[in-house]
């Protein structure tokens, strides 16, 4: 078992999520699973169908009954795929379907969590008391989910079987003369064959999902009990640290080596660097030509038929004529520039006059603009929390404890916190600004000079920050303490 090669993401899952993971496993490895499943099933099916050719439903019953026998190889193959290993030797696989098979075909045939228990027999190869002990540890809180999986997969089998039959019925032309039922509503022989084949198809199609869901539940329990996820993460961490150490050692030796090189043969080093520049330039160019830098775009437009790119660039004839005509007035240019200068002066004067008029007109409001606002209003919202006194319930601690009891942890603590902020603004007239952070607010409270109050508020701020940003819940005693503190420090009765 090499956890580095584990093909599924090891993390804690709920039972249902594990079942979903099992469905994904069946999806991913369906080829191997079907081959391993059909290997014993196909010959068995052919023999049974030949034997019971006059009443084929019996073969369906046998195939269904022998499920524990032929769904073992898929499980074994999946366990190898899980760690990206070779399927192993044939001799090992050959003995597998018959191992401890009798109980599974007799009294354990109706076990409601066969898929979940199977790995203990097939993969851990436990029997008797050892098996029972192992199952006792494994089952835990997953028995319901294992039962649910068994139930739903059975429903899926029925659904697929009847769905296939109905679909065939839809698509069989009446003229073909195949009748599924006789005049009394009983199955005809061809009807029996259709039902049998549909049933076998359904059992085969659902088998990988059912088996893998049980296997995934078993895996989930192992991940939980043996903390596979922690082991993988720890191994990665240890590897990273080791790599970092060896990398550092490598760097030092390179630097020493480079130093020696420059001392002994500087020309060679220069050549190496130049070559480096050249190759890196090429590399940069090739990267710049990649898709991420620049794009090609196809643009469609309407254009006249005889139009060409050159026409667009050419200066039209009449413009040249116009410029030549202007040349005739060369002497007038001086006069024109004089006029232009006067126009400029007039425009500047007009603009200045406009500014003067606007200033006169709006002098009153402008002079008021510069003056300070008489009083800065206390903020109504701090870090997204409404801190107006109107938004608070009459009895804050009682409300907090009620919310806490209803598991509204976040709401409870946020209410207590914003109630405190509101009181601090109201009662102690602390100048919180909307831009302050929680820690800055706490610092302001400390600067106010009441030690017990600042100590209390610091505790509350910490509890709030841990819950709000760190998702760390405080325990109930802490909350009770904080509520008592609130009554003592911040309620109406307190000093």
């Amino acid at each position: 078992m090499n956890l580095d090669k584990l093909q599924v993401n090891a993390c804690l899952r709920s039972g249902w999520q594990a079942v979903d993971l099992g469905f994904l496993m069946a999806r991913a490895w369906w080829r191997q699973i079907y081959i391993a499943g059909l290997l014993p099933l196909l010959p068995l099916t052919i023999v049974l169908l030949l034997v019971f050719s006059q009443s084929p439903l019996w073969s369906l019953l046998f195939i269904w009954w022998l499920k524990p026998f032929w769904e073992r190889l898929p499980l074994y193959i999946a366990s190898r795929m899980l760690f990206d290993e070779e399927p192993g030797t044939w001799s090992n696989m050959k003995s597998l379907p018959l191992k401890d098979i009798l109980p599974w075909l007799l009294w354990r045939r109706f076990s409601v969590q066969r898929a979940f228990d199977n790995p203990v027999t097939v993969l851990e190869e436990l029997k008797g008391t050892a098996r029972r002990e192992r199952l006792r540890i494994l089952h835990g809180r997953y028995t319901d989910v294992a039962l649910g999986n068994q139930l739903v997969c059975f429903c899926f089998e029925l659904l697929v079987a009847f769905g296939l039959v109905v679909m065939l019925d839809f698509f069989t032309p009446d003229t073909l003369g195949i009748r599924f039922y006789d005049n009394f509503g009983d199955l005809t022989l061809s009807g029996e064959w259709i039902y049998t084949l549909a049933g076998i198809a359904a059992i085969t199609l659902v088998m990988p999902f059912h088996t893998m869901a049980g296997f995934a539940l078993y895996l989930n329990r192992r991940i939980e009990l043996e903390a596979w996820d922690i082991e993988i993460s720890f191994r990665n961490l240890a590897n990273r640290k080791q790599r970092a150490t060896s990398h550092r050692a490598g760097m030092i030796s390179v630097i020493v080596f480079a130093g020696l090189m420059t001392l002994t043969m500087p020309a060679a080093v220069d050549a190496a660097i130049e070559h480096d520049h050249e190759s890196s330039r090429q590399l940069i160019e090739s990267v710049l030509q990649g898709q991420d830098f620049g794009e090609e775009r196809t643009v469609r437009k309407w254009r006249f038929k005889g139009w060409s790119e050159a026409d667009d660039e050419a200066i039209p004839e009449w413009m040249i004529d116009f410029l030549e005509w202007l040349e005739l007035f060369k002497d007038w240019a001086e006069v024109l520039s004089n006029i232009a200068a006067w126009v400029k002066v007039l425009l500047v004067l007009a603009f200045a006059g406009l500014l003067f008029y606007l200033f006169r007109r709006y002098r009153g409001p402008l002079s008021r603009l510069g003056r300070r606002q008489p009083e800065k209003a206390a903020p109504e919202v701090l870090f997204g929390l409404d801190v107006t006194p109107e938004s608070l319930p009459p009895d804050v601690p009682a409300q907090v404890m009620a919310l806490w009891a209803e598991a509204g942890y976040r709401e409870a603590l946020s209410l207590l916190y914003r109630a405190s902020l509101s009181r601090l603004i109201d009662k102690y007239e602390l100048a919180f600004r909307a831009s302050h952070t929680e820690a800055e607010c706490a610092a302001l409270v400390r600067a106010h000079g009441i030690d017990s109050l600042s100590e209390y508020f610091w505790q509350l701020t910490n509890a709030w920050r841990r819950l709000a940003y760190g998702h760390q819940l405080p325990d109930s005693e802490t909350i009770e303490g904080l509520c008592d503190g609130w009554t003592a420090e911040l309620s109406d009765e307190s000093q």
Partner: protein
């Protein structure tokens, strides 16, 4: 790597994650909703008897039947955070595939296409399409661009043990810190030898062996939890 995780990167480089939900829990949710709908229809049919089966009563009953059959999932999904009562019990919910709340249009599309998913009998098409893609979307989901995800449970208060915190000797990345915290919080579920085995992997960091290593790791975990 196989996982039921579904990830969306939103503008700003933030990754949103959700766990997609497969056919088994959805089957149960559907069965529960089916039961609820059945009870409602039964009650309505009893109520409509006094109105007479031929005229008014029959008409009202048929209208209610239509509304319940076609709008029951839509109304719950749009107005109850993507959860019909059955989905609520199974702690799963419908959401758009960019992980924004499901809209009226999307919910309509996904529920109108139930008729196709139901074909030829008992949702065979739905089951097959669900298993033919990684996100377990049935045909209606694919058309509407919706997903069924599991609703994350809010954390319960964890009792903090009395442990002297210890600052780690080297810098650790965030997932590594998380795994050490996990080690502290789950150590009660792990056997003693397994704890020592896990701690021995990190001997390079704790510089301790055996029980002392376990203790050191737990103290580092407490430090990362913010105990000072």
């Amino acid at each position: 790597m196989l996982d039921t995780r579904y990830r969306v990167e939103i503008p700003g480089g933030i990754n949103l994650e959700a766990q997609v939900v497969g056919p088994v829990p959805r089957f149960f949710a559907f069965a529960i909703d089916l039961g609820i709908r059945g009870i409602i229809i039964l009650v309505l049919s009893l109520l409509s008897i006094p109105l007479g089966s031929g005229g008014m009563g029959g008409g009202f009953f048929l209208i209610f039947l239509f509304v319940i059959e076609w709008l029951y999932p839509v109304l719950f999904e749009v107005f109850s955070r993507g959860q019909t009562p059955g989905k609520k019990l199974l702690k799963i919910s419908v959401i758009k595939d960019d992980l924004s709340p499901v809209t009226l249009g999307a919910s309509m599309v996904r529920n109108l296409l139930r008729t196709v998913d139901f074909l030829p009998l008992f949702y065979l098409v739905g089951l097959v399409t669900m298993l033919s893609n990684q996100r377990f979307q049935r045909l209606g989901d694919l058309a509407a661009g919706t997903l069924v995800i599991s609703v994350p449970e809010s954390a319960k208060p964890a009792a903090m043990q009395e442990i002297m915190p210890l600052a780690p000797s080297t810098s650790l990345l965030r997932p590594e810190q998380t795994s050490i915290i996990e080690f502290l919080q789950r150590s009660s579920q792990l056997s003693e030898p397994r704890q020592q085995e896990l701690a021995s992997i990190l001997e390079g960091i704790t510089h301790e062996k055996g029980d002392n290593g376990v203790e050191q790791l737990r103290r580092i975990g407490a430090w990362f939890l913010g105990v000072r």
